[in-house]
Every structure is written in C-alpha cells, then in structure tokens.
C-alpha cells in the first residue's frame, strides 16, 4: 500500500502517511507514528534531511524548513569561508593605511607652518599627528589579532555547520509531520511526496543565493573577485555590492514632477486661491471670536460651557489650564492655535462625515477610498507640505489644509464604520414603517452610528493638534511657531512651556468633547 502513491479514484483519496510521503513511505509511516505517540519532543533522526539540508525541504515541499536552514547553513558557510580564504583584518589594515596617509599629511602641514614661522600652528598639527599614530598602532594590533583568529573562526564555522546538520536531522520529521497534517486538511494546495519541479526551484534558489552571499562576506572586494572568477566576461568589475544605477531615472522623473506641479499651480491658481480665501474667511471669523472679544468674556464663556457641557471637574481643570496660558503670556498664541485647529477640525467634520456616510453605504466607494485614506494617514506630512506650498503658498490657510489631510481620515473611517454597524433588522423595521431614505438616515442610521462618529471626531481633534508644530513650518503662527523657534535656538525651557500649553489646549478640548458625549449617552 505504501508504494501505491495517489491513484485517482472515485472514492476520497487516501490519507495514509505512506501515500502522502511517496518514496520511503514505510519509513515515514513509522516516524510519524513515533511522533504522534509521543507527548512533548520526539527524537526522530532523518539522515537524508541532514545530508541534503534545504534541498531535502525543497524536494518534499516543506518550504519553511528550506528557507530556515538555507539561512543557517549559509551563516555557517560564511564562517568557514572567512576562516579558509577570508582576508581577515583587511578593514583594520585599510584603517591603518588611512591613518598613515593622514599622519604624513599633518606632518607635511606642520613642516610648512614651521617654515612659515607659525610655531604654535605647527605644534598643533604635530599633536594631531601624534594622536593619529596611536590610532594607527591600535589598528595594526587589531589587524594582527584578526589574522591570528583565522583558525578559530574556521573551527567555529565547522562546529556551526555540524550543529545545523544535527538540527536538520532531528527537526526534519517533526516539520514533515506538521506538513502532513496541513496536506490532510487541504490536499490540493499542499505538496505530497517528492516533486522534481520543487527540487529544481530549490536548487536554483540555493545557486542564486549562496555563492554571491559567500563571496560578499568573505572577500574585501567582491566586485573585482567576481569579475576575475568569471574570466572578465562581464567587464572588470561586476557590481554586486551596489545596484548599478545612479540618480538618472530618479532625477528625470522628479523633474517631470516639478514641471507637473508648476503647470497645475499656473493653470488652477484661481481654484487654489478660492480655497485659500474660503479657509481664511473661516479662520478670521474664529480668530475674531477668540481674540478680539475681551479675554475675560472668552475665558468666562469657555469655563461656563465646560461646566454646563461636561461637569464641574472638567470646568475646574479648564479654569486651571486657562490660568496657566494667561499667566505664561501665551493667551494670544493659544487662541490663534485654537482658531487654527478649530477651523481644521470643523472642516474635517463638515467634509468627513458626509464622506463617511457615503462610504458606509457604498461598499464600492469605500474600496476605492480606502487606499486614499491610508495614503493621507501614513504619508509623512513633509511630503505633502511641498505641493501645498507650491499651490497655496505659506501662512495659516495652507497650515489648515495640511491639518485637513492628516486629521480627516479617522472621522471618515469611523463614520463609515458606525454606519455599517447599524443593525440590518433595525433599518428593516424603519423601512417597514414607511421611512424614506432621508428619514432612515436622520432617525435611525445617524443616531445609532453616533458613538462611532463621536469617537472619530475626538480622534480628528487630537490629530489636528499634533499637526500644529508641523503647520508652523509653513508659516502658521501660534504655539507651534513658538516651539519651532525654541527648536531652532535650542531653548529648552521655552519648548517645554510651549509644549505644555499645546497639551493643555488639547486636553481641554478633548475633555469637553468627551464630556458632551458621555452626558448624552449617560442621559439618553
């Protein structure tokens, strides 16, 4: 039965180990039985696996085994190679050469200065040369040591190879048994027995990986050695250490990109100006509200609103935070910052929530939008700051735009998530009572999605705050500019106080928003 292989028949294919393993079926039947009879680790030796290592794994289709032991054997072989023909200490020798050249240069300079009568300068140069000599001596010493290490490295390599072979021999049957179980569950997608195509693939992989890697780690100039080994067939050097392409493609493409941006900036300037004007209008409104209104009024309104919306504890915290901002003289900067991120957050919500609703309803639209959202969230801000400057110039409106790009995805995503989380049965009930699509949206879907939407808004507010410093890079003032300045002059104290101010602004806004939400949910 063990040599029958898989003869196709109308009945379900056999799941016997012998039929699975093909060649040496009887051996594997016994080995698997031993493994399955043992609790804990089963000692089971496979000579073929130990001899052929990764190739055995390839032949049997156990690719995890193949890759793991390919890497381990390669490591052992590299040690062997270094011990046998490696130019040990070559790096130290190169360092020695550089040091000697440097010493000669300094000494020559010293001699020149001496000749010019600058005794102090010459003294300094000589001192440097003296220090370099010490470095050179140490490099010489290490190079000698490294050369002496060759034998021990060779021995270590041998020991490693032996250890890897032992591991292979003892691990092979365990890995193969696990593979057998996978094959039983999915016979179509897992290899059974030995397959020639797998062996060929394994050998090609080994040939492609092992020689080059070995060469790279055992000789100092692999490019030249490889050229010599191939008999100069492909030129004097074969670039295996560096990819043989410089910036030519990159610069050509990036020039294209420049031209494209310039063209867009020229041709759509009206649209960009319109967007800028819109944002500026919004921003100015908020700034007038927060800055032109007398500070006692603004503070009072904020504290009262906090206590009304979120309770006494939040109100006390808010009052303390506002006091900090005021006494540190950061009141105006803080209000500018709040206006900036307030504009950003409000625009995010105004644009993001409708999009979220759409994406929640249309699976296809969401599938298209998802990569865009990922892009907006993961792309480093500095990348889109460049085109933003190109199109919108510098100042606060572009800062708001950068905030929009970064902070909008959470509210879009969470709105869509909330919309999709509304139970189908509830929607069906509403439709059964004659709801129109709009009634369904406002009476059922939005209220039920509200917790998720609120979480999204919260995230968006916090993310806009984290953009404040980056927005200041393109000329948006406020607390961000303060921090940027302290970064430039290494003003640690200023940075700390400014950072604390941003933190307090964020916490006040966040606590009030959460308080509103908690009150709604708790009371509703």
């Amino acid at each position: 039965m063990s040599d029958m292989g898989m003869q196709g028949g109308p009945v379900a294919p056999s799941t016997a180990v012998g039929d699975f393993a093909g060649q040496n079926g009887a051996y594997y039947s016994a080995a698997f039985k031993r493994i399955q009879d043992t609790t804990g680790f089963a000692w089971s030796w496979n000579t073929m696996a130990a001899l052929f290592g990764p190739i055995w794994g390839a032949a049997r289709g156990v690719w995890g085994f193949f890759w793991m032991f390919l890497v381990l054997e390669l490591f052992a072989l590299v040690q062997l190679g270094r011990g046998l023909w490696g130019e040990l200490g070559s790096q130290q020798l190169a360092k020695l050469d550089r040091a000697l050249a440097n010493i000669a240069k300094r000494e020559a300079q010293a001699a020149e200065l001496q000749a010019a009568g600058d005794a102090a300068g010459a003294e300094a140069k000589l001192k440097i040369a003296e220090n370099l000599k010490k470095v050179a001596a140490r490099a010489q010493e290490q190079a000698d040591l490294a050369a002496a290490e060759a034998t021990s490295i060779l021995l270590i390599g041998l020991a490693l190879l032996l250890l890897v072979k032992l591991l292979e021999g003892f691990y092979a049957n365990i890995a193969y048994e696990a593979h057998y179980l996978k094959w039983r569950a999915k016979p179509q997608s897992q290899q059974a027995g030995i397959r020639t195509s797998s062996i060929v693939f394994g050998v090609v992989m080994v040939l492609a990986i092992v020689p080059l890697t070995l060469l790279r780690f055992t000789v100092t100039n692999p490019d030249q050695v490889l050229a010599r080994l191939t008999g100069g067939l492909f030129g004097d050097t074969i670039p295996v250490t560096h990819f043989p392409v410089e910036k030519e493609y990159f610069s050509a493409l990036s020039k294209r990109g420049d031209a494209g941006f310039d063209w867009a900036a020229d041709n759509f300037s009206d649209a960009f100006d319109g967007i800028t004007a819109g944002i500026r209008w919004f921003l100015d409104g908020l700034e007038i509200l927060l800055l032109q209104t007398p500070w006692p009024v603004v503070m009072l309104v904020i504290v009262v609103a906090a206590s009304r919306l979120a309770g006494l504890r939040v109100a006390i915290f808010t009052a303390a935070s506002l006091a900090y901002l005021a006494f540190m003289g950061l009141w105006e900067l803080s209000m500018i910052t709040v206006a900036l991120i307030g504009t950003g957050a409000i625009l995010c919500i105004l644009i993001g929530v409708p999009f979220g609703i759409w994406f929640g309803k249309s699976r296809r639209a969401y599938a298209i939008a998802e990569p865009v959202l990922d892009f907006m969230q993961t792309m480093p801000a500095f990348v889109y700051l460049i085109p933003i400057i190109a199109f919108f110039g510098t100042g606060k409106p572009p800062g708001v735009l950068a905030t929009l790009i970064f902070a909008m995805p959470p509210v879009v995503r969470l709105t869509a998530l909330g919309m999709r989380g509304v139970p189908e049965t509830t929607k069906e009930a509403a439709i059964a009572f004659g709801c129109s699509p709009w009634q369904l949206l406002f009476n059922v879907e939005l209220p039920l999605a509200l917790p998720s939407i609120m979480t999204g808004i919260n995230q968006t507010i916090l993310m806009s705050l984290s953009m404040v410093v980056i927005a200041s890079l393109i000329g948006a003032d406020g607390l961000g500019a303060l921090i940027l300045e302290s970064l430039q002059y290494a003003a640690k104290g200023q940075g700390l106080l400014g950072g604390l101010a941003i933190l307090l602004c964020a916490m006040v806004i966040d606590r009030i928003a959460q308080g509103i939400y908690r009150k709604r949910v708790g009371g509703a």
Binding site: P423, T425, T426, E428, A429, F433, C435, S436, L448, A524
Partner: protein, 350 residues
C-alpha cells in the same frame, strides 16, 4: 367577519441569485429540488410558487421550520423583498405596481409589522418608539403622544412611556414592538415570529394578550411562527411551509385531522387534539346508528356538533348513554358512544 380578501398572493416566486429566471423556468419544467437549483444555477430558492389569500379579520398563521421561507414570504406582503415572479395584492392594490412614494405611504398607513428581534430604536424612549410610524407619516407631536399613550395602554405598558428600551425586559420590549405596529392603526398586522425569542411562560402570556387584543381590534393578521402549538392556538387558518413551498393550508382542525402528507403528519403527531377535534368529525351519522342499535335516544344528553373532544369527555363521564349530537337548528344529526369517543381521541376515525 366579512369574507372579502385583504391579502392575495398568486404564484409568487423568490429565487435569490443572478440566474433567478432561468432557475424558475427549470424548476417548473423539471421539478428540481432546492439543492439541485443551488448546484445547477447557484441560486437559493426562497419561496416557490406560493399562493394564498387572507380574509378580513383573519389570523393567518404561516408555520415552517427555519429556512422554509416563511419570513421571506411575509416580507413580500410589504415588499421589503421584491418577488422574482408572481402577483401580490393588498387591500385591492397591486403592491408591485406602487411607486416608491405610494409604497411608503401604504407601509406607513396600512401595514404594521412586528419583528422577532423587536428592532426598537435604542436612543428613543418607549413613547417615541411607539410613535415612530406616526412621526414618519408627519403627524404633530401632540397627536403622536396621544396615540402612543393609547397603544401602550392596550399592551399594558402605561407608566413606561419615558423609559428606554434597554431598561425593559424582552417580553416588555416585544409589547412595545406590538404597540408600535398598532400605532398607525393599520389594516394589516404582519408578525414575524414575534414571540419566538421569548421564554415559554412569557410567550404564553403574550399569546393570550395578543389574542385578546386581536379579538377586540379584529385586525387582519399574518402571523409567522415555527411553533405548531402557537399556530394552532392563535390561527384562524394555518399554512404549512417546507422548502419554500406551501404544503397545506387549512383550519387548525383540518391540519390536525387531515394532514396533507407525512411531513405535516410528523408535526401534528405531537399535538394534543382534544380541543381541535369536534363532535361532527367523529360522530356516527344518526341514520347509520339507528340501523344498528335499537335503544331509545330520547333521554340521552344532547350537545352541539361544534363541541370539542375535551368537553365530550366531560359529558360522557356523567352518563352511560350515548351522546346525541345536534345541528345548529337543533335536529339530531349524529351519535357518539364510548367506543367512538375513544377512537376519536386516539385519532383512528380521523
């Protein structure tokens, strides 16, 4: 009770899948089974060639196991699901010909629905949940409150108006669901396994409450259930479904005494027949009895032909004589003696 039809379904098919039409044609031509249709066309048969009509004031029960298509069928009546073929008439109107606006209007005014999982709106109070159909219709708040108050009283939930659904037990939530369905004063109630998710004791209470309400309001009702006991308790007529087809339609008595096939018989076997089988279906006709027996029946107890077995047992324990069965006009039509009664209880005669 009038005899005019309120709901009429004719040869309605619902096949889910892209090749629905081909599948229907193939089923009609070759009589494929549900599994064969799935294999050949990749289509799932929801309901197949179902026809029935519901009269005004009737409680029409649709009974079947899960997957038999009963919930799919009820959703055709208010067109929550579009049929693949067939015609559906509700209150004299062709439902399939309605425009979206007309359909919404019909749902909001003529059709009330109760769901297995209540499907109440968690963010609204009980009152606002009940008033929801009226709000959809655009009624002013005072009227909404007035109506929801009345409906909550009907289901004995006065005092809970300002609570939220999550503060109520499952049975109370389902009563809110019932009140919501009644709020728009619909002509037709569609009830999709309304009591299935409740525990047996509460289920029985709600059945009683529903039957009392139903007797009072006389609403035409389509009642979906997987429980034959429930169907028999509350149904005027019962349709039994299997694999999307209606196997039998009849009164509870007809279903119990004359099951159409083995499938129905299996269900009926476990049902107590005492209150479902009546004197006229087990009695020996008076002429036939007289031909064999000579005793005088004048002194015998006389009961109506509509007396159920349960009552007949009570009567027969009090007398040694055979019981004489009378027609509505008081004439003697049949006789039940002890052997006949015992056979009837056993179901042999039926």
């Amino acid at each position: 009770m009038g005899t005019d039809e309120v709901i009429r379904l004719e040869r309605v098919w619902k096949v889910f899948g892209e090749q629905a039409e081909d599948a229907i044609a193939a089923i009609q031509a070759r009589g494929l089974s549900k599994a064969e249709v799935l294999g050949e066309f990749g289509c799932v048969v929801g309901i197949a060639n179902c026809s029935f009509s519901v009269k005004k004031g009737e409680i029409f029960c649709v009974m079947g196991l899960s997957g038999s298509g009963k919930s799919t069928m009820v959703r055709h009546i208010n067109r929550l699901i579009e049929p693949s073929a067939g015609s559906i008439t509700v209150l004299g109107q062709d439902v399939l010909a309605l425009s979206p606006d007309q359909l919404r209007k019909m749902r909001a005014t003529n059709l009330g629905m109760v769901f297995q999982h209540m499907a109440l709106l968690p963010h609204r109070t009980v009152r606002d949940n009940v008033a929801f159909p009226l709000q959809v219709r655009g009624e002013p708040k005072s009227r909404r409150w007035e109506v929801s108050q009345r409906c909550l009283e009907m289901v004995d939930l006065q005092g809970y108006e300002d609570r939220f659904p999550r503060e109520l037990s499952g049975g109370m939530q389902q009563r809110v669901g019932l009140a919501r369905a009644l709020a728009s004063d619909p002509d037709v109630l569609l009830m999709d396994e309304p009591f299935s998710a409740l525990d047996p004791l509460i289920r029985r209470q709600l059945q009683d409450q529903f039957m009392a309400l139903s007797a009072e309001l006389g609403k035409t009702t389509v009642f979906i259930t997987h429980d034959l006991d429930e169907a028999i308790r509350i149904g005027t007529r019962i349709a039994i479904m299997k694999d999307g087809r209606i196997v039998q339609i009849g009164t509870p008595e007809e279903i119990v005494t004359r099951p159409a096939d083995d499938y129905v018989r299996d269900f009926v076997d476990g049902i107590s027949k005492l209150k479902l089988v009546f004197a006229h279906s087990i009695m020996v006709p008076i002429s036939q009895y007289r031909a064999k027996h000579w005793e005088n029946l004048d002194a015998s107890i006389r009961v109506s032909h509509a007396t159920d077995l349960d009552h007949l047992i009570d009567v027969s324990t009090a007398t040694e004589q055979p019981i004489v069965i009378t027609a509505d006009d008081g004439t003697d039509v049949g006789v039940i003696d002890k052997p006949t009664l015992l056979k009837g209880i056993q179901g042999g005669k039926a």
